[in-house]
């Protein structure tokens, strides 16, 4: 998610009380794993976009629901690992 300014080992602050909206950076649950993506929600269509264009978008398949776990509100950078 480097294009969104999120790098390896950054600490993300996630707010579950925010209703996810178009263009929010969100943590979603895909196949039981947490993943960070940008939410695309337009004209009744919904998908998860990776900020890195080499990664494919994730679209819900028939009958599948994408679970948005929470909305990323900020990150904390780590300068020393």
């Amino acid at each position: 998610m480097t294009e969104a300014g999120i790098f390896d080992n950054d600490i993300m602050v996630i707010d579950r009380a925010i209703r996810p909206r178009h263009n929010h950076i969100v943590v979603a649950v895909i196949d039981g794993e947490f993943t960070v993506k940008q939410l695309y929600q337009r004209a009744g269509r919904m998908k998860l976009k990776a900020a890195n264009p080499t990664y494919p978008d994730i679209l819900p398949k028939d009958g599948q629901t994408i679970e948005i776990w929470g909305v990323v509100t900020s990150t904390i950078k780590q300068f020393v690992a």
């Binding site: 998610m1 999120i6 600490i11 993300m12 579950r16 009380a17 943590v27 649950v29 196949d31 039981g32 794993e33 947490f34 993943t35 960070v36 993506k37 990776a50 900020a51 890195n52 990664y55 679970e67 776990w69």
Partner: protein, 436 residues
């Protein structure tokens, strides 16, 4: 009017918040030392796993049915409980946190549709914390508790109760006929305060359902059984007998006891354990602003092993009532040394602080040379405040008595928690990871 907010399969639900891959799988959470199942997911219940089922009896289900067993992670459950309770408090003006996953909320003076309001709070807890819960509403605490049972059962096993009672059930708005049929479908053993023994007595006497019980005359119940059961019947009939307990009395005694992960033979190992238990107990005593007069310590072997058996306890009086970890540990270890016998495989030890009184009352006394003066005692109080502050800020056990020994593998007596998930919400190092 009361509401009871209760997290569904609470420990399992907590685990699922941070491990969504557990959704849909049969999951159990095991008690300390991975002894028996203390929480079950609906899928695990469907496999026929009973509450309290010993781990060794259900272990084979991990192979045959994909059962997932986890060690209890109380740091996580306590933290999520806190979050859930603070949202549940928004339901009404007063709240009694009844257990880690249940709280009563007083609804007096709340206007509007209570069911609609409860659904809102329920979905808020689900969205903000991730815990599904059931909410029961009734004119007494016993009825609220029963309504909660109905709300959960209606969701989990459709068909027994009307569907509209699922998740949130308000008994006070049902018509008399509807209420009677709901009571008719509920066994008497589901009522709050009716244990297995009384439930059997009642059933044998032909009182099988809640409806049978509600029809009884409270006077007859008091004569035939007890005042306690009479109170339950009155509560079911809608007469408030049990109030909201929003500031629980300070405890009369405080205990810290634990079974060991592995049997302990040496006095040194027991000393470590007893030091740790008395430190914990002393911390609890300070938290409720009490002083202890006596320290009881016990050790015992496992009654489930065929080894030689030994079990003994001793009460050591303190020179003067104290909440000082040093004084309490010293007394407990002295007691331990008096009752320890070599050659036994010890399985459990514990420390209990007795004769608790408020720390605001201190008996003045003449300073007879030996022992510490009252001035020293004041210094100790400051030391203990510092100790508690440090441990609260930097984590349990950051600073402790040297006789508690070091953490790690050397500590044979530590609890067996082979399947514990990380402390996701209370430890920076255990934070969950999301991939891009």
């Amino acid at each position: 009017m009361y509401a009871l907010v209760d997290g569904n399969n609470f420990y399992v639900s907590c685990e699922r918040v941070f491990r969504p891959s557990l959704n849909g799988l049969p999951v159990v959470v095991l008690s300390n030392n991975d002894g028996c199942a203390i929480a079950r997911s609906n899928e695990a219940k469907a496999l026929g796993i009973k509450m309290g089922a010993p781990w060794f009896q259900i272990k084979h289900l991990t192979e045959s049915d994909g059962l997932v067993a986890l060690s209890a992670n109380f740091a996580l459950y306590g933290d999520l409980s806190d979050r859930m309770m603070s949202i549940a408090a928004g339901l009404g003006p007063s709240q009694e946190v009844y257990s880690i996953d249940e709280s009563f909320v007083g609804l007096d003076g709340v206007r509007g549709d209570l069911v609609e309001r409860s659904h809102k709070i329920r979905s808020r807890i689900l969205q903000w914390v991730g815990i599904p819960c059931g909410i029961g509403i009734g004119s007494t605490k016993t009825l609220a508790k029963l309504a909660n049972h109905i709300a959960k059962t209606a969701e989990r096993k459709p068909g027994i109760y009307p569907d509209h009672l699922a998740q949130v059930c308000n008994l006070s708005t049902l018509s008399p006929e509807e209420l009677a049929s709901v009571f008719d479908a509920t066994e008497v053993g589901e009522v709050w305060g009716i244990g297995r023994r009384i439930s059997k007595q009642l059933t044998d006497g032909g009182i099988k359902t809640v409806q049978d019980l509600v029809r009884m005359d409270p006077g007859t119940v008091r004569r035939g059984w007890s005042v306690v059961l009479e109170r339950t019947v009155r509560e079911l009939q809608g007469t408030q007998c049990i109030g909201l307990d929003d500031s629980p009395e300070p405890k009369k005694e405080i205990a810290c006891t634990r079974s060991f992960g592995h049997p302990v033979l040496e006095l040194s190992g027991l000393t470590e354990a007893v030091t740790e238990f008395s430190s914990r107990a002393a911390e609890k005593v300070r938290k409720q602003h009490s002083l202890a007069g006596d320290v009881m310590v016990f050790v015992r072997t496992s009654p489930f092993r065929k080894d030689p058996q030994y079990s003994r306890s001793i009460v050591v009086p303190l020179l003067r009532p104290s909440a000082d970890t040093g004084a309490i540990v010293q007394a407990a270890v002295a007691g331990l040394q008096a009752i320890y016998r070599p050659g036994f495989k010890y399985a459990k030890a514990g420390v209990m602080l007795l004769d608790l009184g408020p720390d605001s009352v201190v008996q003045g006394e003449l300073d007879f040379a030996e022992g510490e003066s009252l001035q020293d005692a004041a210094e100790k109080t400051r030391l203990m405040t510092a100790l508690d502050t440090i441990n609260q800020r930097f984590g349990k056990g950051t600073m402790k008595m040297a006789s508690a020994g070091l953490d790690g593998d050397r500590r044979v007596w530590s609890m067996k928690q082979e399947r514990r998930t990380p402390a996701y919400t209370t430890d920076w190092d255990d934070m969950p990871v999301a991939r891009a």
